[in-house]
């Protein structure tokens, strides 16, 4: 089953075309890697899928329904969760609270609930329990009372993932999850991403670390100057002449 | 110890120190003193009136004490700055009543603050004399509440009559300052007065205290072709309005109340305010013997400063209190109150003052003044009867 489909999606900023008629398919329970040189349009695609930008043209379909221009909180309700390239945690809140907020769309409670404590208590316990399970899953259980801003860089990256998972998404978008991690941390992260997939999630990954991309992705799509230049298994991509040219071109 | 806990401890310490400070006795109570509380703003936007009243009060207390005090005791003024803030007024009044145990309060010069303080004074049976409030609804608060101002309900018709019958002006533009309670109240009286004597209000405009641009209003007023501009608020805006009229070539005089009769009106307005007419209960330029005496003493005490209306009224309030105390022979609230209420034809610096049975002041005469050659000049003295 197709979870996400990009159909001729284009994004222009003034005179600049950042993304040009990109097509992309993401199947259920698949890990798709999105790579490309800097400025190729990866993050723009990310921001379109998550509702920060509305595409100038083309369609984005999630589970067969068009989601162009939907606000990001609605997308989260539908089952799309994300992490951020430049970490955006709730720094002054505890690790546990961060994950609890991640579960916002999967829990109930309003002003009335907050004031009449009793029914809310049970719900609160359920929220906390769930949040703790995600923390444990990401190996952060011991840190639950720390303030998020006090975590190490790698821990913050993992907390972002835990927080995103708390919204019970169908599709998880990871924006450079390994940035700033050391090789050991990256290895551990790869393992975690695999385990997330094993839980039944579909994952779209933007990443520069080729070892990680080639190591865990089922499929890889390559962008250059806003256009998709290749799409295939890691093996196919590694031997694709256009891809090599694009990367070498950048290096040279 | 974490930084957080340290700052929490500091906070708790702060609270404890504050609490202790508040519980310490405020001032040693000297047996030979009678305390009068001063209410008014010494800082903030309305500080002019408070500062003036306090100066007048201090002069009065000095004179009384020099003459041996009252009932063998010296008078002392307890002063706090209420900044015109109503919460402050309430707190200070309550403090005077409970901590300082004053037997009388002079203040506040503004109506609004007086309305906040008066119920507390009434409840504690403390005489309160406001040296400035003129709007209705003040003395009605209780039988311990008085004021020694010239009531607008006397002055406004008098000046309207003069403008219409003597000056033969018929068409008036009425300007109100909408954020000034004195002005809003006075405008109604002006309107009624103008109507009563056969004049006509051809246009009504609003300004706010603190405005400096009146160009749009003056352009409108000019088109309405009035004989005079009636302005019910204070001298600063009054003078600036006349300046603007002068710039736009609108050559009509201003008619107003005692809010305009202060030296800055002429200072700011210059030639533009020539020919303005207004009423006042107090005229430094045409003083009676009592006023002369007060003005000289005031100038001597405050480096040659010319006393303004609020200073004279603050001075009179203290003098009225002292006289009543002497007459009552006791500080017993009931007897003292009755003595204040019985004040009749008191020869004050701001005019002759009688308290009517409803505790409203009757001040006579009312002076009608004008601006001539850059100075205030007397037009007429209008005696006022009950």
């Amino acid at each position: 089953m197709v979870v996400l489909e990009l159909n001729e999606v284009t994004m222009r900023f003034g005179g600049l075309t950042a993304v040009n008629r990109v097509n992309l398919l993401l199947n259920e329970n698949e890990i798709l890697g999105l790579i490309g040189p800097n400025g190729a349009g990866k993050t723009t695609i990310f921001n379109m899928i998550t509702g920060i930008y509305t595409p100038s043209a083309g369609k984005i379909l999630f589970q067969g329904k068009e989601i162009n221009g939907l606000k990001s909180y609605l997308l989260t309700r539908k089952g799309i969760a994300r992490t951020f390239q430049n970490i955006r945690l709730f720094g002054e809140l505890t690790v546990l609270d961060n994950v609890k907020i991640g579960g916002h769309v999967r829990s109930k409670g309003n002003l009335f609930g907050a004031l009449t404590r009793l029914p809310a208590m049970a719900e609160e316990r359920r929220i906390a329990e769930k949040a703790r399970s995600f923390l444990a899953f990401m190996g952060l259980a011991a840190k639950e009372q720390e303030l998020a801003r006090n975590l190490s860089y790698g821990e913050q990256r993992r907390l972002e993932i835990a927080r995103a998972m708390a919204s019970d998404p169908t599709l998880l978008l990871l924006d450079e999850p390994a940035a700033g991690m050391n090789p050991q941390e990256t290895m551990a992260l790869m393992e975690m991403i695999r385990r997330i997939r094993d839980k039944g999630l579909t994952i779209l990954l933007v990443e520069h670390d080729m070892k990680l991309v080639m190591g865990i992705c089922d499929r890889v799509a390559v962008l250059d100057y806003g256009e998709k230049i290749a799409d295939g298994t890691p093996k196919e991509i590694q031997s694709n002449q256009r891809v090599i040219a694009a990367y070498l071109g950048e290096a040279g | 110890m974490s930084k957080k806990r340290l700052s929490a401890l500091i906070s708790i310490g702060l609270v404890v120190v504050l609490a202790l400070g508040a519980l310490l006795p405020m001032a040693a109570f000297a047996a030979g003193e009678l305390k009068i509380g001063f209410l008014g703003a010494l800082s903030g936007n309305v500080a002019i009136y408070g500062t003036q009243s306090l100066k007048g009060m201090k002069l009065a207390v000095e004179e009384i004490n020099a003459a041996g005090g009252v009932l063998g005791k010296k008078l002392v003024i307890v002063e706090e700055d209420d900044r015109g803030d109503k919460t402050e007024v309430a707190n200070i009044m309550q403090k005077y009543a409970t901590q300082d145990k004053v037997f009388a309060v002079v203040g506040d010069p503004t109506t609004g603050a007086t309305k906040v303080a008066a119920p507390i004074a009434q409840q504690n049976k403390i005489i309160l004399i406001s040296p400035g409030s003129t709007a209705p609804g003040v003395v009605e608060i209780g039988d311990y509440i008085f004021r020694d101002t010239l009531l607008d309900s006397v002055g406004a018709p008098a000046i309207a009559k003069y403008a219409i019958q003597t000056k033969k002006w018929k068409r008036f533009a009425l300007i109100t300052s909408i954020n000034n309670d004195f002005s809003v109240g006075l405008s109604k009286l002006f309107e009624a007065g103008i109507k009563k004597y056969g004049g006509q209000v051809v246009i009504k405009e609003s300004v706010s205290d603190g405005d400096t641009d009146f160009s749009a209003q003056i352009t409108k007023i000019k088109a309405a072709k009035p004989d005079a501009i009636v302005f019910s608020a204070y001298y600063t805006e009054g003078a600036l309005i006349m300046k603007e009229a002068q710039k736009q070539g609108l050559k009509v005089p201003m008619v107003g109340g005692d809010g305009l009769t202060a030296p800055p009106y002429i200072e700011i307005g210059g030639k533009a305010v020539e020919g303005s007419i207004f009423y006042n209960g107090f005229s430094p330029e045409q003083p009676t013997a009592n006023t002369r005496k007060f003005l000289d003493a005031f100038a001597k005490k405050y480096n040659g400063e010319v006393a303004e209306l609020f200073a004279a009224q603050g001075y009179d309030a203290v003098k009225i209190i002292a006289a009543a105390l002497k007459k009552a022979g006791t500080t017993d609230p009931k007897a003292f109150r009755d003595a204040v209420a019985a004040t009749k034809e008191f020869p004050g610096a701001s005019g002759t003052i009688t308290f009517l049975s409803n505790r409203e002041p009757l001040k006579s005469p009312v002076y009608l003044l004008t601006v001539k050659n850059g100075e205030f000049g007397l037009l007429a003295k209008v005696p006022v009867k009950e």
Binding site: Y73, R88, A114 | K4, A22
Partner: protein
Amino acid sequence: MINAYYLQVLTIMGINVIMALGLNLITGVTGQLSLGHAAFMSIGAYAAAILTLNYGAPFWLALLFGALVAAFFGVLLGFPTLRLSGDYLAIATMGFGEITRVILLNLDIAGRALGISGIPHSSNFSTVWILAVLSIVTMVFVGNSRLGRAFLAIREDEIAAEAMGVNSTYYKIQAFALGSFFAGLGGGLYAHYITYLNPSDFGFMKSIEILNMVVLGGMGSIPGTILGAGVLTAVPEVLRAVREYRMLFYGGLLVFMMIFKPNGLLGGVHFSTIRNWLIRIFKGSAGSPAGGSRGGTGAGEDAKTRVQEG
């Protein structure tokens, strides 16, 4: 020892606590700087006073009515303006405050510049503090709920909050409505304590005064806000010098706090934190497992767990 004067200062302190808690919810918890809190206070005060004076309504009904009207205006202002962010919102709320003042100056039912006088003196120490305690409890409950976490998430990072499914506009309006409700409640109590209302008492400076309470105590912290309201009500009464230079002091305080202690005296301190310190003090600090290596919150939670186990 408690005479009428202390009682009055404490009562006004209680009113300030209620209003400051309202602003803390908007500015401290949700991170939306409001410079028009006094306007909501005035709306509550006038609505309540008009109800008791002109319609003879019972005091408690007038209070509730005033608070609800204020909340209604909070929503009204919220709907359009909350799409604005940061300083634009602050300026819009300031504009709203000025507009409210001008409208009150033009309303006959509000007595124009003459204001409303003779309001029954119905507020007293106990009503004010019962309501203050109720407000504190409400704030604590809200703070520990899904609603409160949504507010906090918006303050911390609006884009991330939206990405977590928090409809930020909806929650910001709720924060404004709730915060304005408490401003209105405080206003109603104020009206029935001071017994006289005038539009000039609810200007920009009043908003700043309330903001100062929150900033001094610690934005987002309930105990901090209470402390801030308490200190700024008491200090001018005790220190004469502070009373005279008050506005100067307020201005300087804002700058000073922002530079040296932007989180206020008790920033990040919650009732649970204080409870944990107390537990620690009474149980002795021996055998503390956390060793205080991290912030107070972490260490405190350990203590709490121990108590629950024990």
